[in-house]
Amino acid sequence: MKAFTVLDLLSLDLKEHNALDLTCVGGRPGLTREIRIPDLNRPGLALSGFYDKFGFDRIQIFGRGETAYLEKLEVEKNTETIEQLFRRDVPCVIFTHALEPTPDFRRIAEESGCPLLQTDLPSSEFSSRLIRALSNVFAPHETIHGVLVEVFGIGVLILGDSGVGKSEAALELIERGHRLVADDAVDIRCVAGNILLGAGANQALGHHMEIRGLGIINVTHLFGVGAIRDSKQIQMIVELELWDSNKQYDRIGAEEHTRDILGVKVPDLQVPVKPGRNVPIIIETAAMNERLKKMGYFSAKEFNQSVLKWLESEHARNAYFQNRDILQRDIHRESDQEEA
C-alpha cells in the first residue's frame, strides 16, 4: 500500500458526520510523516512522566485534560516530559475542542518536525470518527478489472475478459436508470469485517467509460448525476464469458456459487454471452432475484418445492381415483345382482 501521510489525513474528503474538520496549526514540514497504525493515543500518563509502553507510533490526541496539563507545565516552565514525547517520531498531534498548543509545546514540536493539527470537535466524537476513517483507509483492498453498477439497489460487479461487453452492458443499464459506480478499475475495500465496498480506483477522474467505437465518454454529463454513485457495497458478481457450447451452464440455479474477494464470499453468476442475447436484462433480473433471495424467497428452490408438492398430490389423487373406480365398480355389480 502507498504510504498514508498526515497530509493524506488532512485531505480525506469526508462529509457530515464523518468529517474530521482538521486544520494544520503548526509544524507544516512534518505533514509528510507517515501514519502506520490506525490507532490513536491519549498521552495523559506520558505527560506526567510515565513513558513505559508508550505508543509513539500512534496519533496523539490532546483533549481538554491534556491541554490543561500542558498549561500547568508551561507555568512551571517544565518541558522535560514534552521533550521526551517528541524524542521519538510521533506521526502527528491533534488538539480537539479547537484548543491551542502552549508556546513551549509548539516550539518543541516544530523543532522535532512533528505536525500539529486542530479540530473543533470534542475528543470522544473526534476519536470515534478518526478510528472509523483510519480503519477504512487501512482496510485490506485490491483493484479489480470490472465494472461496478448499482441495479435496483444491489451492487453488481460485472467481470469478464476485455472485449466481452462489460462496459456496453453497463451503458445499457445506465440508460435504463441504474447507476454507474466504477468502470474498468474497481477499488475494493473490505470494511467492518465483511462488507466489500467498491469505488472508482481514481475518484479524481470522475465517472468515465470507454466504449469501443465511441471512445471515452463522461457518464455524469451525458446521463446526469442520477446515473452515478461514488461507492457501493458489492452484493453480487456477474461473470460474462463468451458462449462455449461445450460448457455446462447452470439451468436451474438452485445451487449458489460464490467467489472469494478479500476473504468475503459473494454470490457469483456465470452468464454466457452471444450476439442477440440481451445481457442487461439478464443482469437486471439477476439483481431482482438476488433481492428476492435476501427477502427469503429463493425462486429456484421454491419452484422445485412446488414441483415436488404437485407430484406428490398428483400421485395421491391418482391413487384416490383408482380406488374410487374400483369401489364404484363393486357397487354397480352388487346392485345388478340384487335386480337379478
Binding site: 500500500m1 485490491e142 474498468d184 478499475a185 470507454e210
Partner: protein, 90 residues
C-alpha cells in the same frame, strides 16, 4: 510468465493517447497482460484502467505477461515505453 519493469520516459506521462497505444498493442496478443504500480494492478487491455493508474513521468511500472505469445507481447509493449510513445525523439 514474463515479469519486466518498464519506466514511463515521456514527459507528459501516460495520458489518453499513450494509454490507447498500450491498449491497441496489448489487444493484438492473446496473452494476459497486467500493469502494476504500487500495490495496484490493472489489465493492460483496458483504457480506463491504464489511465486511472495515474502513471506520470518517471513512474516504474511492473509488467506481467502470461500466455502463448508472452515474449512478443512483452517486447512490443516494452518498445512502446522505450520509444516514449512516439511523443518525443528517443
Amino acid at each position: 510468465m514474463i515479469e519486466r519493469e518498464v519506466t514511463v520516459t515521456n514527459r507528459a506521462g501516460i495520458h489518453a493517447r499513450p494509454a490507447a497505444m498500450i491498449v491497441q498493442t496489448a489487444s493484438r496478443y492473446d496473452s494476459r497482460i497486467m500493469l502494476g504500480k504500487d500495490n495496484e494492478e490493472i489489465n493492460a487491455k483496458s483504457i480506463m484502467g491504464i489511465i486511472t493508474l495515474g502513471a506520470g513521468y518517471d513512474t516504474v511500472l511492473n509488467m506481467k505477461v502470461e500466455g502463448p505469445d508472452e515474449q512478443e507481447a512483452a517486447d512490443a509493449l516494452a518498445s512502446l515505453f522505450e520509444n516514449r510513445f512516439q511523443e518525443e525523439p528517443a
